[in-house]
């Protein structure tokens, strides 16, 4: 009985240690963001998110693709990158063992709000993609659509036109 218990305990310890080892094994691909963790600007500004991708493994990694993911912090919904970045995905190809490559993403702030951006990298044969740390965007509204200017124009132009037309009509009558 003792032998059975010792066997079961040993097996459990080995399995647990194996799992622990598997979970703590560092991923071959490492993504680092070197630019600031928080980028601020006004709608319409361009910022550059800089980072690196490193193959920390012992073997070259093939078919590596990186892409961006942007989420609106208020709505908790992903944002369509259509107008934010011209390059939504970036195909890198092969990274040799120990090699580090730079990543640069030019981002166009389109709409006011706070956003979270992560870079995701996938390599051929990897079960799970690797993700970078989060970069926060704080985009303030651009007040170039000054509504204060439109009201005088919207009201003033028709009124000025009516005045000019009456003036012309009056002048014509006076001439006659």
């Amino acid at each position: 009985m003792k032998k059975i218990i010792i066997f079961i305990l040993s097996a459990a310890i080995i399995l647990f240690a194996g799992n622990l080892f598997a979970k703590s094994a560092p991923p071959a691909l490492v993504l680092d963001i070197s630019s600031s963790k928080t980028l601020s600007g006004t709608a319409g500004d361009f910022v550059t998110v800089q980072g690196t991708i490193t193959n920390a493994g012992a073997k070259p990694l093939n078919n590596i693709t990186t892409y961006l993911s942007l989420a609106d912090n208020e709505t908790k919904l992903p944002v369509d990158l259509e107008d934010w970045s011209a390059e939504k995905g970036l195909y890198i190809g092969t990274i040799d063992a120990g090699q580090t490559l730079p990543l640069n993403w030019k981002i166009h702030f389109v709409k006011a709000g706070t956003y979270s951006l992560i870079i995701i990298a996938e390599a051929a044969g990897d079960e799970l993609p690797q993700v970078s740390g989060i970069t926060q965007f704080q985009v303030s509204q651009k007040r170039n659509l000054n509504p204060g200017q439109v009201l005088p124009v919207a009201l003033g132009t028709p009124i000025a036109l009516i005045f000019i037309l009456f003036l012309l009509s009056y002048r014509r009558r006076a001439e006659n």
Partner: protein
Amino acid sequence: MFKHIWKKEIRGELYTWKSMLWLVIASLLFSFTSYLLLTNKELSLLDQTELMLLLGQIAIGVALLIVAIDASSIITAEFEKETAESLFLSPLSIKDFIFGKFFASLTLWAAIFIVSLPYIVVASSGSGLTFAFIGYVALLGTLCIAGLIALIFGISLIYRSTKNTLTTSLVTLIILVTPALFSSTLKNNAPSQFFSKINPVDNVFASLDNVLVDYKTAILGNWKFLLPLIIFCLLTIGFLTFAAKRFKNREIIKND
């Protein structure tokens, strides 16, 4: 001599305030559109260029409609009111007659353009595209409207009836404008793409889109849209010349 006809037409337009009420209505339309769009809190930076595009389309669209209606009656009215005969008995060539009427119709476009200027300036404030916006609305609008006037004048000289000319002109305008308002997904087959490339209104809207939304402000970058417009103008001027010669050869005008 054409200046005399031109001035006469403009004086006729300015005779009463009622005859210029359409200009006030056009400005009210611009006021409503720009106020509604500019005060929308949800508008982002990207939306500003799109509202500028919408405002440009409305300004040119309104001008096309008003000029089409005016051009449909400006020549035919002379026949219906029986004033054409006395006009042609004076030392007036058909060329001067057409030029005078042509510039009078084009002046209506100039009036609408001037009225739309404050709205264009306010709508494009801060975008850095104000001068490009004004310049392209003027250029594209003038080319498209000049071509349309020549086409309508040609029809007028053939029909010599306001009712028929107006109906044909408005139907032609609808044929040109409706496909230009279709989204690009509705233009994914060869015939619609071909029509889109030759349609002057489509080229006007596409060029404005190119300038305002894609920031391609150089003339060379818009050449593919300007060339069909120039060809449209030349073709309609050719048609007008043919209609004028046909009109003259039938000896309706004997003193030319």
